[in-house]
Symmetry: C2
Subunit: 248 residues, 2 copies
Amino acid sequence: MISMVLFGFGNVGQQLYKVFKKKKVNILQVYSPSMTPIEKKGTKFINDLAQVEAADIYIVAINDDAINNFSSSLPFENALVVHTSGSASIESIVSKNRRGVFYPLQTFSKDQKVKWKDIPICIEAENEADLSILKELGNLLSRKVVVINSEQRKQLHLGAVWVNNFSNHLFHLADDFLGDVNLDFNLLKPLILETAKKIKNISPAEAQTGPARRNDQETITNHLALLKNPNHKELYDLLTKSIREKFK
Amino acid sequence: MISMVLFGFGNVGQQLYKVFKKKKVNILQVYSPSMTPIEKKGTKFINDLAQVEAADIYIVAINDDAINNFSSSLPFENALVVHTSGSASIESIVSKNRRGVFYPLQTFSKDQKVKWKDIPICIEAENEADLSILKELGNLLSRKVVVINSEQRKQLHLGAVWVNNFSNHLFHLADDFLGDVNLDFNLLKPLILETAKKIKNISPAEAQTGPARRNDQETITNHLALLKNPNHKELYDLLTKSIREKFK
């Protein structure tokens, strides 16, 4: 069985810990600077990098912008070190180790129940042997393990920002608008869920509906009049134009 | 049992027909100008308004901008006539009949399996007796029947445009971006579904993550550089600023 050390114990680190434990992966250690040292079910929780043991793979699940410095502070060389970031390049890990990426394409919260088998795991490595280890590890968690290079991963991460971060922000705006007129945001939740489910079987282009799609200028004008914040007006206008551009 | 005539047989009309039939509502007739006349399971499909029979309620499930003219062409008076639109006012039905609204807050496709019990039904009427009929009818379909006036309904519909039409457009854009670099849009689908599910238990404000939320300027700059279309750059920029505004 693959032996592993996990660096970082935030949302991604904790979810990886949970699922790898479940899959009986040999997690030797979990490192976090703020960790209280303890041993639990065969895994040592440590806060001192000097104590890091030899392992088949080191997973760095920390903030994107900290990966580079952290990887240079690792007190070992020629080991397989991978990060879990969608946007950081494989080169953000310093080259004294064998580098790789193990990016689960999902949004994680600490207490969320994650259905790992559906989550795409995007892997990248500098040689075939390391790629095999990542594949083996990925296959333990998911039915969808894909080899993707850093350039493609950046595009994928950009796509994830549009569909996750930006969509969620639209939910946030709608929540505010409804709150302003004492309407319950819960009324929109079935629609939000159906919007996501709809594209399981048809493309987003086919699923597109609404006043912009129909070029229903009267409703568009009415909606713009309802919006008070000029930034929201601008955003509504730009999204409407962007839809029009696709269907003109 | 309530007797009903249904005008219009598009997405909404067909879904209402299916579910009211299932609930044993007495649908006397379904009218559509292009309908081939036939009788099926006790319902007459007609294409001639002169043949419309007396019923407890007339449901007008047609395009928003056609409601007014259509309602004035109805060859009867003082009957309960309701439309199913989110954005049209109750006054878009001409006043020779008793007016109302029966708006199921959901996006419908023809072949989709609709879970009616979770769909909010927003009702409005000019008097209590008619409101009771709409409530009774709504309760047959859904656990969530809410009385909402035309002003509130407009806000709700605007919210629906943000969370459904605009989110779906973001999916559409991501689909395009990934296609441009030969990546499979299916990779993003589990993330899209989780984005919708996440706000079941936490607010969109709490669920917000991503470079804009973290004010991660490096990633934002990289993303803007990846976008080729100036409209998409502008949209990315505006959405990012809108998120920053919420969390500054």
